[in-house]
Every structure is written in structure tokens, then in C-alpha cells.
């Protein structure tokens, strides 16, 4: 059941009505039932995977919590009798047992993920390297598995780290894992943030429901009017047998940037809006990423919850782990102090980007995508002193014009990396990017070639106007929450704009017969 379907609208409308009619103490239970029903609509068998993750993280959380509670009670009881060293040793033993529980939980869940998502990738590489002919395995990949699993594992790690106590109610843990608006494409929420509003009792709040609805409408506009309208052109431009090089590659970079922005941020707008209508506060996942001035900043603004997940649970876990610190010390003494200083950051960054690439998909182009990001970030980090000197020396590099240049430069650089998603093989991607500089087919801009990509002039106009509207909204966001600004406008303006948004989405949206209404791109991850 896609968010963009009449079935889903009916499902959500019925849920919303019930949600505010049932006694408030039952609201979270209703959400759990709705989430299970929603996920079951993709196939009953997928509930097994979801169930395993929910139950295993719940059980691991409770077990670790029990261990810590017993430890606290024991230490309290024996406070006088135990020396500091004895207490430390006892804590280390308990922590070791908790770690064992966590590792089991991680192994089980990541094992499932590895088997169903990466087995065929592994087999493909084994076959290629050893010239074998191992048969591929057919697994049904549960929709959104990377999102709900990472969210649940984050919870288990937090409980292990004693960031907060475990949720002892299995049903509530299951709801945290399966909360349907964010189940299929995130954001990857944190338990301590989401649970506060997820399990709370909510009275009907007209303003929240209205704001939520506006956000849903805005998300649908981005998805249907821009992303889905561009989809046929991107598909044509990136088809394996297509010879769209040079200026067409620039077009691909631009179109795909707009498509994925409209698709992913649109999907997240719908998610956040739906949750808001239910009184649940879901984490923001984007902060005007296309206005970033460099790639590091871009990654702090794009898919924020994924970035912070990898930062908190992989980067920090690795870079400040005792073993890494020991290794760093060894390198400082034996190789060079600067090498020792950088080693934890470099190794952790490489691991994070390798994992990020693999998280996006089981294919080499995703791994290369991760590594290209990694290399650029590390080089930028190394060149930071040079940049500082540059800005200190040239005053014009601190002007608005230079900032705009940096935004445009970052947009195109990230765009070049991003199209690895759609060019599918690193070699093809490299050739296509190179062709920008080697193929002078600028005439294609004017000879009607772009009208053979599944879009006509009217389509391009819709995309152009839609993109300008997106840009205007992004810029307006810089002055504060857009919906607050809208709410402050006179009723005629406010409702006029909402009406325009609805009418534009209904009329100019690419959906229905004649369009292959695209599934949200990030669902596949």
C-alpha cells in the first residue's frame, strides 16, 4: 500500500477518525494494529522479518536492562563491602554479559539483513572471481528493512550504553519498530525521541492536524509533480544501452538531483505530516541540503538520521574504542605522530562510508559511491588549513557571491557522485562523467533531442515551475518554519495557496494510467 494510493488515503482517514475517537490510552495500540496491517499489505510473510527484529531487540533490551538493574541493586547492597577495583571488575563482568546479549541481537538481525540483501551480491562476486557458476538465491526483500532494522538496532545499542532503560512492553517496542508512516523509508528515529510522543495520549489538535496535512500535501506535490514527472527522462538517460553522453550527462545530474530530492524529501514530508496528524513527532531528515556550501555540510543536511546513526553507532564506536586508541598510539610512536593522530578518524570514516554505500544497496556502484564521498570528505578535511588561508587572503571569497558559487559547485559535485545510483556500474559512470568534458554535443540542447526523453515542452515547464517553487520554499524556510509563515498570512492567501498546491498536484501530478507511478526510490534501500 503506497502512500500515494487511494487505498492508503482511505486507510489513513479511517485510522485518524478512530484514533481521536477511542479512549486515549488505547491510541498507541491502535497505531500498532494499523502499522501491522499496513506492513501486511505488502505481503504477510514480511511480518515475520519485522516480528523477528521487534522481538529480538525487545528481548535483548529487557535482558540487558535486567543485568544492569541487578548490577545496580548488587552494587547498592554491597557498596560498603566492595573496593573500587572490585566494583569496577564487577561492572566489567556485567557489561561483558550485556555486550554478549547485544552481539547476539546484532548478529541475528544483521545476519538476516546480510543473507537476504547481500547473498546474491556475494555470489555474483564469487562467480566473477573464481569463474564459478553458483546459482543465485531468490529472497523476497522486506520493504524498508534497512530502515526499521537500523532504528531497532540503534535502540538496542542505546540500551547497552545505558542511554535509557529498556522498554519492557513488547507491544510498545513493536510499535517503535513498525510505526507505519516511517516504516518504509525512514527517518531512522531514536527511541528516546520518538517514544515520548509515540506512546503518549493525544487530544485532537486542529492546528497539528492541519499543519500535518499541509506537510503531506507539500510532500505529494514534490513527489508527483516533480520527481515522478522526471522519472521517464532519468530512466531514458541512464538506460544501459543509451548513448546519452556529454550534455545529456549534465542533464542527468540535474534531473536526477531534482527527482531524488522531490522523491525522498517528498516522502519524508508525507511521513512527518502523517505522524504529526496523529500527534507523533518524527525526526527531521533534511535541512535544505541543496543549499550546502560543501560536501561535509551537505551530509549534515541530507538524510540526517542516517548520517547521525552511522556517526553515533559506527564512527564514534570505532574511533574512540580502546583498541583503536591503542593502535593510534602505536602508529604515533612507530610511524609518525600525524599518522597516529589521523588513523582513528580515517579508518572510522572509511568504515562508515563503506557501510553507508552497502546500506544503500548490494552493488559495486553503491560501494564506489560511498568511497568517492569518503575520499572527497577526507581530502576536504586535509585541505581545511589551505581553505582558511585562502579565505583570509582573498576578501572576495567571503562574499555572498562566493557563497552562491560554493552552493552551485556543491550541487553539481554531489550530483556527479549521486548519479552513480542510476548509472549502475562504476565504469559506465566514469565514462559518462568524463564525456562531459570530452563530448561537445551542446547542440543537443536546441535540436529537440530532449523532447525524445519521454517529456514534452509542457512537462519541462511543469518541472521548471515546480522546481522554482521548491527553491522558493527552501529559501523561505531560512526565515523560519514555512507553515508558521503560511498560518500568519490572511485566510484568503493561506487557503488560496493551499488550494493551488492541491490543484497543481492533482492536475500536474504524474500518476494514473499513462504513468508508471513510481514507488518511492528510497523504499528499495
Amino acid at each position: 500500500m503506497s502512500f500515494i494510493s487511494i487505498g492508503f488515503f482511505a486507510f489513513f482517514a479511517a485510522l485518524l477518525l478512530l484514533y481521536y475517537l477511542v479512549p486515549r490510552r488505547f491510541q498507541w495500540m491502535l497505531l500498532l494494529a494499523a502499522s501491522i496491517a499496513f506492513y501486511a499489505s505488502f505481503g504477510l510473510k514480511y511480518l515475520i522479518y519485522l516480528g523477528v527484529t521487534a522481538v529480538s531487540t525487545w528481548a535483548a533490551g529487557v535482558r540487558m536492562d535486567d543485568l544492569y538493574r541487578a548490577q545496580d541493586a548488587y552494587l547498592k547492597e554491597h557498596k560498603q563491602e566492595m573496593s573500587r577495583e572490585e566494583r569496577k571488575a564487577y561492572k566489567a563482568r556485567v557489561s561483558g554479559r550485556a555486550k554478549g546479549v547485544l552481539v547476539l541481537c546484532l548478529l541475528l538481525n544483521l545476519g538476516i539483513l546480510a543473507v537476504i540483501k547481500y547473498t546474491n551480491f556475494a555470489l555474483e562476486n564469487v562467480n566473477a572471481i573464481f569463474r564459478t557458476d553458483l546459482a543465485y538465491v531468490k529472497f523476497a526483500l522486506p520493504i524498508g528493512i534497512s530502515f526499521y532494522m537500523f532504528q531497532s538496532l540503534g535502540y538496542a545499542i542505546d540500551v547497552y550504553r545505558r542511554k535509557y532503560p529498556a522498554e519492557r512492553n513488547l507491544a510498545k517496542t513493536a510499535l517503535f519498530t513498525s510505526f507505519f508512516p516511517q516504516l518504509i523509508q525512514g527517518p531512522i528515529s531514536r527511541f528516546d525521541e520518538l517514544s515520548q510522543s509515540l506512546f503518549a495520549e493525544h487530544a485532537f489538535d486542529g492546528r497539528e492536524v492541519t499543519f500535518g496535512l499541509w506537510r503531506v500535501l507539500w510532500g505529494m506535490f514534490k513527489k508527483l509533480v516533480i520527481a515522478d514527472r522526471l522519472a521517464p527522462a532519468v530512466a531514458a538517460l541512464t538506460a544501459a544501452d543509451a548513448s546519452y553522453s556529454g550534455v545529456f550527462v549534465l542533464a542527468t545530474i540535474l534531473f536526477y538531483a531534482l527527482q531524488i530530492y522531490g522523491d525522498f524529501t517528498g516522502g519524508i514530508d508525507i511521513t512527518i505530516g502523517l505522524a504529526q496528524m496523529l500527534g507523533v513527532k518524527v525526526a527531521e531528515n533534511f535541512n535544505r541540503p541543496f543549499l550546502s556550501k560543501n560536501i561535509a555540510e551537505y551530509w549534515r543536511r541530507w538524510h540526517i538520521t542516517m548520517g547521525t546513526w552511522f556517526r553515533d553507532y559506527i564512527f564514534y564506536s570505532m574511533s574512540v574504542s580502546p583498541k583503536m586508541l591503542k593502535f593510534s598510539k602505536w602508529a604515533k610512536n612507530r610511524i609518525h605522530p600525524e599518522v597516529g593522530k589521523r588513523l582513528p578518524v580515517y579508518l572510522s570514516t572509511i568504515t562508515v562510508w563503506l557501510a553507508t554505500g552497502l546500506w544503500h544497496g548490494a552493488a559495486w556502484h553503491f560501494i564506489v559511491w560511498g568511497m568517492v564521498n569518503c575520499v572527497i570528505l577526507l581530502i576536504s578535511q586535509e585541505l581545511a588549513p589551505v581553505y582558511r588561508k585562502f579565505h583570509a587572503r582573498f576578501a572576495w571569497s567571503n562574499t555572498k557571491g562566493w557563497e552562491i558559487f560554493m552552493v552551485i559547485r556543491t550541487f553539481w559535485m554531489m550530483g556527479m557522485i549521486r548519479v552513480l545510483d542510476v548509472y549502475h556500474t562504476p565504469g559506465f559512470w566514469a565514462r559518462q562523467i568524463a564525456s562531459i568534458f570530452t563530448t561537445g554535443n551542446w547542440g543537443a540542447l536546441f535540436d529537440g533531442s530532449f523532447l525524445k526523453l519521454g517529456l514534452d515542452a509542457a512537462d519541462y515547464l511543469v518541472v521548471l515551475v515546480g522546481s522554482l517553487v521548491m527553491l522558493a520554499v527552501s529559501l523561505a524556510k531560512g526565515k523560519g518554519p514555512v507553515r508558521e509563515q503560511l498560518a500568519a498570512k490572511p485566510a484568503v492567501v493561506r487557503y488560496g495557496l493551499i488550494w493551488l498546491l492541491i490543484a497543481a498536484t492533482v492536475i500536474f501530478g504524474a500518476y494514473g494510467i499513462g504513468y508508471d507511478a513510481a514507488q518511492f526510490i528510497y523504499v528499495q534501500f
Binding site: 514534452d456 509542457a458 487557503y495 488550494w499 490543484a503 492533482v506 500536474f508 500518476y511 494514473g512 494510467i513
Partner: protein
């Protein structure tokens, strides 16, 4: 309370504006795919028809209710749409019964060969114009292809929104009205394109009609029986597509088993007087006005013998209504003849 009223006004305003957009974007079928208006035109002609024709283009091109009135005083209406499938015919029969109970239902059996929808566009032509009823809903469910949604029939804006690129003056002009095309469902063509070659039939692997079609034929039979209606099965006159002997036999057997009249016009070409050199506008697939009038004149003799069917020309009110229909009939005929004389072909029905 004030908030509730404001909310209600907003929702109603939004619904009204979306409805207007829907009216604007829906195809008007004025200058292309004109047959799209046929399903909707029925309602202006409903209420007092003794004979109802159901079927595809072979009924709306081949029979003239005006001729039946002129010759026999029989009131009749055609509910034909392009490639109408039997479940759509059934839906139209049930829908008709909400407005009138004819004495005779004439069903053209050519559609028995299809066990599923062949084109979404034909579904639209048959169903969009129907007024909402349980029959229409069932017709939609029976007709929908996998890619279609029921919601898009309830809100055709969801289907036709993409027409924004092709909107023209007609879309504004005909937002709330249409131009009459048919004569109680009959679509007139006065031009002639004689048969030159009849394509060889392509043998089929299996001539047995699909089970689904038999089920609907049973439903039509039962529905007619329930309402005291005489059901007549016909194979409308045409040269091709080919009417296989095996198909004919199955229908003849069914008619015999169920004590129904079955008229295969192909077997009565001589009696009807249809000449495929002068009576067809598309080389044998459909009849032109001359052919339709010949077929109607001959078929009227059978229809007038059916229970309840009588010469109603003595009914003044009815006669006055049919007089207007005849005027429109003659006007269209004159208009098409003029086009034919001036340009050698018929560009427009009207």
C-alpha cells in the same frame, strides 16, 4: 461552531473546485471519439421504449430507431458503445430497468468472444457516461483492467488530469453540456465505402465461448425473464470480422435450449436487401444509413410480433416527441449529404 462551519465551507469549496476541474479535463467527445457520448445520451431518450438494443458498434451503426418508428411505430433505443463487453451490456440492461422496462431486449452476441477487457479506453467509453447506480459499479468492477482503479471512475479527474496539455476551447465550451450525436443511440453515417476484399479469417485455436460470457448471458436471460422481457439474440449484419460457424452453432444451441429467438443477419442477407456495395461506410464492417434502414425495416417485422410491442404512432405525445427526433435525423442526414457532395467524404456527424 464557527470553526466547524469554516471547515465545512473550505471542504465544500475545495470539492466544488475539484469538480469544476474534473468537468474541464474530462474528454468531451465532440470532434474525436464521438461515440464517447453515447452512454450518456441514453438518459435523454429513456422512459418509454419498447425495444432496447444492447451491444457494440454493430448495434449503434446498424439499426435505426427512427426507421423502426417511421415504419412500425415501434419505440426503441440503442445502448451501444464501442466494443461493448457482455458484462457492460448486462450493466446497461440493469441500469435501463431503473428508468424503464422494455418489452424486448435485443442483444448482439458478437462480444461473446471476449473474456476480458481489451482496452481501458473502451471501458471508459462504455462506463463513464452511465449515471451512478449499483449496476454501473458492478459494470466497472467487472470491466476494470489491472492498471485501472475504481476510484478513477468515481473521480474521473484522477484519470483525465493529464489532459491538461491538450485542453482546448471545446473543453470550456462543453464543460456543462454536450452536442447530441445519436438518434436514440443510432450513430448515422451516410457515406459509402463498398466491400472490395474480405480478409481471410484467421483460424482460432479454440472456438468455445468463455465461461464468463455464458454466465453473463445467463444473467441477461434471467433478468429479462424476471421482468417479463422477450430476449432476442442477434448477430448483426457485417462482412467481417469473421463470424465463425462454431460460434453461430453455440448461440443457436443456447437459444434453442432457452427458447429464445436468435437472428443471424448474415443468414438473411437476401431478405434484408443489404448490399455491401452500397450499404456500408467502411467496406463491410458496419452499415451506413441505407444499410441500417434496410436492416431495421426487415428486423421491425420480427419485433412487431413480440408480446407487448405495438404500433404507437397513435399516441400524440409520443408522436410529437418522435417528430422532433425525425427532424434531427433528417437534419443530420442533410448535413452529411451536403458534406459528401461538397468534399466527397463525411468529416463530421453533425
Amino acid at each position: 461552531m464557527k470553526k466547524v462551519i469554516r471547515c465545512l465551507v473550505l471542504v465544500l469549496g475545495l470539492a466544488a473546485s475539484l469538480w469544476l476541474l474534473q468537468r474541464l479535463t474530462m474528454p468531451k467527445y465532440i470532434h474525436e471519439n464521438e461515440e464517447g457520448v453515447l452512454a450518456g445520451e441514453y438518459y435523454a431518450n429513456s422512459g418509454d421504449n419498447d425495444v432496447l438494443f444492447l451491444g457494440d458498434c454493430e448495434v449503434y451503426s446498424n439499426f435505426s430507431p427512427v426507421k423502426l418508428w417511421e415504419e412500425y411505430g415501434i419505440t426503441s433505443v440503442i445502448r451501444g458503445t464501442p466494443q461493448q463487453l457482455i458484462w457492460q451490456s448486462y450493466a446497461m440492461l440493469q441500469d435501463t430497468l431503473l428508468h424503464e422496462v422494455p418489452k424486448v431486449v435485443v442483444f448482439n452476441v458478437y462480444s461473446m468472444r471476449y473474456d476480458k477487457s481489451e482496452s481501458e479506453a473502451y471501458n471508459r467509453l462504455a462506463l463513464d457516461g452511465m449515471h451512478w447506480s449499483k449496476a454501473k459499479a458492478e459494470g466497472i468492477r467487472a470491466s476494470m483492467e489491472e492498471k485501472e482503479t475504481f476510484a478513477s471512475y468515481v473521480f474521473p479527474l484522477l484519470r483525465f488530469h493529464s489532459r491538461w496539455k491538450e485542453l482546448g476551447a471545446d473543453d470550456l465550451r462543453y464543460m456543462f453540456r454536450s452536442e447530441q450525436l445519436s438518434h436514440n443511440g443510432y450513430v448515422m453515417r451516410v457515406d459509402t465505402k463498398p466491400v472490395t476484399v474480405i480478409p481471410d479469417p484467421i483460424p482460432l485455436p479454440d472456438y468455445t465461448y468463455p465461461e464468463r460470457d455464458w454466465e453473463y448471458l445467463d444473467k441477461i436471460r434471467d433478468c429479462c425473464k424476471e421482468h417479463g422481457i422477450t430476449l432476442i439474440l442477434i448477430k448483426s449484419p457485417s462482412c467481417y470480422p469473421h463470424w465463425f460457424e462454431q460460434w453461430d452453432q453455440q448461440i443457436a444451441d443456447y437459444a434453442k435450449e432457452n427458447d429464445l429467438i436468435y437472428v443471424n443477419f448474415l443468414a438473411h442477407q437476401e431478405e434484408t436487401g443489404i448490399d455491401y456495395q452500397t450499404d456500408t461506410f467502411d467496406a463491410g464492417q458496419h452499415l451506413n444509413l441505407s444499410g441500417a434502414e434496410k436492416a431495421s425495416a426487415w428486423f421491425g417485422k420480427i419485433l412487431k410480433e413480440q408480446p407487448g410491442v405495438s404500433d404507437r404512432r397513435g399516441d400524440e405525445a409520443l408522436a410529437a416527441a418522435w417528430e422532433k427526433k425525425m427532424e434531427f435525423y433528417e437534419a443530420m442526414k442533410a448535413s452529411q449529404m451536403k458534406q459528401l457532395e461538397e468534399t466527397g467524404e463525411v468529416h463530421s456527424y453533425r
